[in-house]
Structures are given as C-alpha cells and as structure tokens.
C-alpha cells in the first residue's frame, strides 16, 4: 500500500514534469522550439490537420534522431503563434528520465490545467507514447470519446503491429517520418531568400555532405565528419539498437552485429542462412531479428519486383540502410571505394522513392538471370519506371547498354540512370541520365511525369 506522503511525492513529480513540459501554461509567451527555426516538410501538413475539424489521431513513427520531438514542440509553438489557447495545448514526453513510475496517457489527459478554453479542442502532443502503459487501448478510447486532437510519436514501428492497425482503422492515421531529404538538408544551409537550388549552386559540395552526414537534423551543420560519425554510431547503436531491442528481450550483442553487417552491406539481398552461420545463430532467430531491426526503421527492405506473387514470396529481399549517413558512419572511413559509394547513392535514392510512392504504387528491384538487374522499379498508374543507380561520375556506355537491355525485358515505360557526376550529361539510347544531386533535389518533378 502506498503511504499518502509517498504518493503525494510521486504525484508532485508528475505535475512538476508536466508543467515543466508546458511552460506556456505559466507564461503564454514561452516557447520550446525557438532554437529550431527550420520546419520539416511534414510540419505544415500536421499543423493544418490539427487546426482542422476532425477527431482522428496521428501516429507519427520513425527512427531515432530524425526530429520527431522537435517537430512536436514546433507544432506547439506554431499553434500558440496562431492564437491557440495555451492551456489547450499539452505536450508530454513519456521517456523523460525524471519519471519514476509507469505513467498512462490517461493521467496526462486528465491533468487538466486551469484556464482551458471551452471554445477550442484540447491538443495532446505525446512523445514516445510506447513508454506509456496500455497506450493502445487508451488511444482507441480517447479517439472514440473525442478527448481532443492527438499526435503521438514513437521511434519504433511496433506501433504498426497488425492488431494495432485494426484498432486504428478509422481512428488514427499512421504517418512515417524519415531523415531529412536533400532539400530539407539544404534548408539548414540556406541564406535568407535563397531557394534550395540557389543554395546548391552556391555550395555544390552540400550534396556530398548530405550523403556523408545523412538526414539527421542534429548533425546537418556539422563540419567535422569523423566526430559526427562517431556520435552517430554511439547514438544509433547504444540508444536505438541496444536500448530498444533489449526491451524486446533479444540477444542484443548479436542483433547489433547483424545491424552493423546490414548497414555495411546495404542494398544486398538478405540470406538468413548465411548470416545465421556467421552469427552462430538459428536462422529463425535471425529472421526475427531482421523483423525487429526493420521495426526500428533504421533499415528498410525492398522486395523483388515480379508480376507473379509466388515468385516474389520465394525471393530474398534486399535490406538497405534507411539513411545514407548510416552507411558513411558505419562503413570504411571516407567511403571512397566505388562499391561503398554505390551503397550510399542507392540508400539516398531509395529514401526519396519511399516518400514518393503512393499507397497504390509498387516499388521493388528487378533481376533476371544473374546479369540483368535494375536497382529500383517504380510502378505508378500503369507506368513502370526503371531506375538504375551508379556512383560513376561518367555515364559509361556499358552501363547504359545493360540498363537498356534490362528495361526492355522488364517492359519499362521509362528508364533513368542516376549517376554520380556532378555535372549534367546527355542521355543515350532512350536512357535518361540524371545526376544524383538533381534527382535528390527534385524527385517529384522527375518522377512526377509518370503519374
């Protein structure tokens, strides 16, 4: 039984933390994201959703370090700036180290500050929701009972379990967030009134910086690559892999080894039997670990493109680093070797394609026999685009010819060769040659023609 005084102390802790998280309750002029003026592309969409009528919650999921917390705090700041009553906005981070017991989301919602306006709905910005007890049941009820508008985040895709997805149908929208796109990365380096194109024109090396640093906002302005990579390794391995997967009860050391292997061999087809031999583990365990690692969204899978579902099921999937910065951080120093650079390029292109592909579209890789391959096949609205990625700085004839042959066998309606040259070159034989930097800067414009 909890003594009254003990209970009171705990309760005080919670309220103190809650008030600390919401300084605008005591002073409407206070802001928490003032030091982060840049907004992710996703920000505008979430803000307008919150300001519109509607009861659906938003589940924002993505890997660690991509700016979810900052995004929530920026939403709070912008709602306040738009005139939303301060007491109607509640932010809470369930992973706050000062929390000494397992809190529920219900407690946060029920802790109603004095001054809530009845003319506006309450908005709940709930960070690291997975740390809250029984959060899924609560969220379902909270949406049904219209307690307010809710945006909840977590770093793991356990939010996307099948049973959760069923509960969430009609109740919440799942919104993924990844590392910065090149365009967002450039905005960190933008001078006033400058477009992303102007920024890149002025500082062409920023494409390489993006590949090397990745899309982690905290490091976007770093000018010390080795130190940034060291910190990325430490943050990603210690926090994401070790801490999150330890919670899942996995053999953390071997999962960590597997993670490093996957990142260093990003884009390779995954062979569970071979990896299980390397790791001296059961192949079934290795498959489980892969699923958990994919759930962290630090690695992503790509299936073989095929018109026949059975063939697709038989095929091995390719596993990519979700962000090129991970390859640079975990790979050999400088990433000068062509194969390593190709992995960087592919990860960067894949990151853009994931964002672009619609729910009805299909994305995969194509392979016929052993020598005809296409890195990415994108099918949208009946059009099939073959996208081959090469780190070569020149458009080589043999590469063009192989892509032409593979695209012919695939029946592609359009073929792109994304290359590593930093200056434009004309395409050949019906193949469009596009420099990586141009593709990353304007993928929607380049692929949009298909739709």
């Amino acid at each position: 039984m909890i003594e009254f005084s003990e209970f009171w102390c705990i309760a005080m802790d919670f309220f103190e933390i809650l008030h600390d998280h919401n300084p605008w309750w005591r002073d409407p002029g206070l802001r928490r994201a003032g030091g982060y003026p840049l907004r992710r592309d996703l920000h505008g969409r979430l803000l307008s959703t919150l300001q519109r009528e509607g009861r659906r919650a938003i589940l924002l999921f993505g890997p660690r370090q991509v700016g979810k917390t900052i995004l929530l705090l920026q939403l709070a700041d912008d709602l306040l700036a738009a005139g939303w009553p301060p007491h109607n906005i509640t932010y809470f981070d369930f992973s706050d180290d000062r929390i000494t017991r397992r809190l529920t989301a219900r407690e946060v919602v029920e802790a109603r500050p004095t001054g809530v306006s009845a003319d506006f709905p309450r908005i709940f910005l709930l960070d690291e929701i997975r740390s809250a007890g029984a959060w899924d049941r609560w969220l379902k009820q909270a949406v049904d009972q219209k307690v307010g508008r809710i945006v909840a985040t977590d770093s793991a895709a356990s939010l996307l379990r099948d049973d959760l997805r069923e509960s969430g149908l009609g109740r919440w929208d799942e919104v993924g967030i990844e590392g910065l796109s090149l365009r967002e990365f450039l905005s960190f380096h933008r001078l006033s009134e400058e477009t992303a194109e102007d920024t890149l024109e002025r500082q062409p090396n920023l494409v390489e910086s993006y590949l090397a640093l990745g899309g982690f906002p905290e490091h976007a302005l770093s000018d010390d690559l080795p130190e940034t990579h060291r910190r990325l390794r430490s943050d990603i391995v210690e926090r994401s892999v070790e801490r999150d997967l330890l919670r899942a009860g996995l053999d953390v050391q071997r999962v960590k080894d597997l993670f490093v292997y996957l990142i260093r061999d990003s884009g390779a087809e995954f062979n569970a039997e071979a990896r299980s031999r390397d790791l001296e583990a059961d192949p079934r365990s290795v498959r489980d670990w892969i699923r958990e690692l994919i759930a962290t969204r630090l690695v992503v899978s790509l299936e073989r493109w095929s018109q026949q579902p059975a063939a697709k099921l038989r095929s091995r999937q390719r596993i990519f680093a979700a962000d090129p910065g991970l390859i640079a951080a975990f790979g050999p120093s400088h990433v000068q070797e062509p194969r390593s650079r190709a992995r960087l390029f592919e990860a960067a292109v894949f990151r853009q394609l994931r964002e672009l592909i619609s729910a009805d579209g299909r994305l995969g890789f194509f392979r016929l026999d052993e020598d005809l391959e296409i890195d990415f096949v994108c099918e949208e609205a009946g059009q099939t685009t073959a996208i081959e990625v090469t780190s070569s700085v020149r458009v080589r004839g043999e590469k063009v010819e192989r892509l032409r042959r593979a695209a012919g066998r695939l029946g592609a309606t359009r073929s792109l060769l994304v290359h590593g040259g930093s200056v434009e070159e004309p395409g050949r034989e019906g193949i469009e040659a596009i420099a990586l930097s141009r593709f990353l800067l304007a993928p929607r414009e380049i692929l949009g023609d298909l739709r």
């Binding site: 001078l191 024109e201 090396n205 494409v207 390489e208 690559l225 080795p226 700085v393 434009e424 141009r438």
Partner: protein, 409 residues
C-alpha cells in the same frame, strides 16, 4: 654559400642577428631583408642570442627545413620587386652535431629600390649601422628614378606582360558582379588538349584531383545543367563548367579561371551576434587550393598536352574578392578554437571595397606540381594580412610542416 657562423660578431650594416622567435614573425625578417637590400646587402642570421649587439649563443630552430621554405615563400611574396633566388636566399645552416640548425638569409641587391609590402602599403627601409631606418622621401624618389633607368628583368618578358593583360581582362569581366576570382596563368606556348581533358574525371570528381568530395571545390553543382562545354571567349578557347555565378574555365594554354559568389564563402553566423556576414576559413583555404591542385594535376600529365609538352617556367596567380566591403573574418578557425572561444574573438571587418593582390604571385611550375596547397595558402595568406591578422592567426588547418591543407572527412 653562407658565411661562417657569426658567433662573437657584432651586428652591423651587413649583419643582422635575430633570435629563434623570428621564425614566427616573418614580417620582421622581411623588413630586415628589405633594409639590407636597400643598402649594401648582407646576411640575417636567425637562431642566435645576442648580448650588447654581439652574437653569443645558439638557439637552434626546430623543423628548420620547413621553416626555411615558409620564410622563403613569405619573402618572395612580400618584397617588391620580386626578389630572384640570387637576391634573397634562405638556407639552413647546421650547427655542431646535436645542436640543431639555424637559418641564414643572404641578401644581394640587384635593383636600386626594394619595398616590403604590408596591408596594401609599402615600407621602404635601409640598413644603417646596426639598425634599419625608414627611407626619406628624397631617397625613395631617387630610388624610383634609378629604377626607371634600370631594366627590370622580373617583369620585362613580353609573355609575362601578355599573361598579366589576360588576367586584367578576365578580372574586369568579373569585377562588376562581385565575388571571388582566381586566375592562374602558366607561361609558354604549350597547348592543352581540351577534348582529352573533357574525357577525364578531373572536372567531375573532386577526389581525382586530391580534393575532398565534401569539400569546397571548383566542381560545380549538377543543377547548373551544363557539363564541360568547349567554348570560346575573349581569352581564347576553353572548357567551361558551371553557371554564370559559379564557374570554372580552363583555356587551351593551361590558364585556369575560377569564379564564385562571395556567398560561397559565407561562414555559419555567430549565434549571439549574427552580423556582419563573415567569411569561412575552410572555404577561404579550400576553394583556391582545390584549383591549384587541379592545375598541379594538369601540369603533371603530359598526356593532356599536345605533343606531350607541359608548360615550364612560372605560373602567375592573381586573386580578388570583389565587393568585400563590410564582410567579416575571425582569426584561426572555428574548428581549431572551438565554438566557445571562436565566437568570442573580435571579428575584423574589411573596410575597402575590393581585395586584390598588389601584384600576381609567381609560382614556379615545379612548385604548383609538388606543393599546390602551399601555393594556394600563400594566396589566401595575403587576404588574412589585408584583414590585419598576423601570421600566427591564420587557420591551422593548413599544416605548415607538411605544407598540406588538412580538413576532416
């Protein structure tokens, strides 16, 4: 050949003695050298202690060979007219075994009047007895008169005059726009095979010229929509890359002209006092050095030159920052000082409209081939001096011993 070690000798009209610390203050050595050149010549010994004007002890210099090169470069860049090696020669003098080395600067005048250049001004000095004094106006006038009568071999070649004229022409085009402008002009009749160059990776791939991919280099952004195109302008046939504001042109005589907007050099703003706009030390060093590395590669590849003949002789180098007025610069670098200290150092603001070298620097082709970074550093050093910084306040990312620009990544 230098004289014997002057231990016990008294400083005089032909002998100046400086302590080991003088290697950190090459401006002081340059003033002494000019003073000797405007008198009867003589020697400056560096690394000796004195008592009442007499050399009494040794103060050996660590890394004497690299200090020698550094000092020789500085003297060549800061004395006018350009002193030939026969006029100003720095040598390393080994002292008794185990005791290290000293430096000796031998000055032999071949012109009637020399000046030490500092911050766009000129110091005319003359050694009198055991000290240097400023020349009087009459002495300077007399020197100029004599200089007008004397043929000046350093700038007399018709080829060099043409090279200088080409620089002025390409500079004039850029002047009105503002921005950074670097012009490298190798001499000689050799012709670069522009088609062969276009097929190489040098213009596409920073790493092919020893540059960082993530670095500030001459390689333009792809969205310029232009590959290297054969073109022709008032200066001749060339390969042109990039757009109007950021572009590189390589001419068939090996001339390289690189231009970039000043905004390409902008530093991350001071979070506490975000004005004025500041130059970044990394970009200041890396852009020009990347171009020197490119030229070094071109000069070292006979296959890129018609008949396999590469230029010999000198490369004239001129650089300018147009419309630099109001831009700021801080000493050293943010990386070396750390954010906390860096932002607390006062920013120096450029007061003149433009920065332009008083005269092009001259690099022997061999030097561009073997020490491109040192050549680029010598160019940018002039900008730091013009801002009013001392040599010890230059960014340490240029390693003086290795003579290489070393940046992470």
């Amino acid at each position: 050949m230098t004289s014997p070690l002057p231990l016990g000798s008294q400083e005089g009209s032909q002998l100046a003695i400086l302590g080991r610390d003088a290697v950190a203050d090459p401006a002081a050595v340059a003033r002494e050298a000019v003073a000797l050149l405007n008198a009867e010549g003589g020697e400056i010994w560096i690394g000796l202690t004195t008592e009442r004007g007499s050399a009494v002890g040794l103060e050996p210099i660590a890394g004497a060979e690299s200090e020698r090169k550094r000092l020789q470069d500085f003297l060549v860049d800061s004395i006018e007219p350009f002193p030939a090696p026969s006029e100003v020669e720095v040598s390393v003098v080994a002292v008794p075994p185990g005791e290290g080395s000293l430096l000796c600067v031998r000055c032999r005048p071949a012109q009637p009047l020399y000046a030490y250049l500092e911050r766009s001004g000129r110091w005319f000095l003359r050694r009198t007895g055991d000290h240097a004094r400023l020349l009087s106006r009459e002495e300077i006038e007399r020197g100029f008169v004599r200089r007008g009568l004397v043929r000046e071999p350093q700038v007399a070649s018709a080829e060099e005059i043409l090279q200088a004229a080409a620089q002025v022409q390409s500079m004039a085009e850029w002047h009105a726009r503002g921005g950074f402008w670097l012009h490298l002009e190798p001499g000689g009749p050799q012709r670069l095979d522009l088609e062969a160059l276009r097929e190489s990776d040098y213009l596409f791939e920073p790493a092919a010229t020893g540059n960082r991919r993530t670095g500030a280099t001459f390689v333009p952004a792809s969205l310029s929509g232009k590959g290297p195109a054969l073109a022709s302008d008032d200066l001749g046939s060339c390969l042109a890359l990039g757009r109007e504001s950021f572009n590189l042109r390589i001419y068939d005589n090996g001339r390289v002209v690189f231009r970039a907007p000043l905004e390409s050099f902008v530093a991350r703003p001071d979070p506490h006092h975000p004005a004025p706009r500041e130059l970044s030390s990394d970009e200041l060093l890396e852009y020009p050095i990347s171009v020197l590395r490119l030229l070094g590669r071109l000069l070292g590849e006979p296959g890129l030159w018609q008949s396999g003949l590469t230029p010999a002789g000198l490369v004239l180098a001129q650089l300018a920052f147009f419309q630099l007025e109001g831009w700021g610069l801080r000493p050293r670098s943010r990386r070396a000082s750390g954010d906390f200290l860096f932002w607390r150092q006062p920013v120096k603001v450029f007061a003149a409209k433009d920065f332009l070298l008083d005269r092009p620097l001259r690099f022997p082709v061999e030097e561009v081939l073997q020490r491109p970074d040192a050549c680029g550093f010598r160019l940018i050093r002039q900008l730091y001096l013009a801002f009013g910084f001392s040599l010890s306040e230059l960014p340490p990312e240029f390693d003086l011993k290795l003579e290489r620009l070393i940046l992470p990544g």
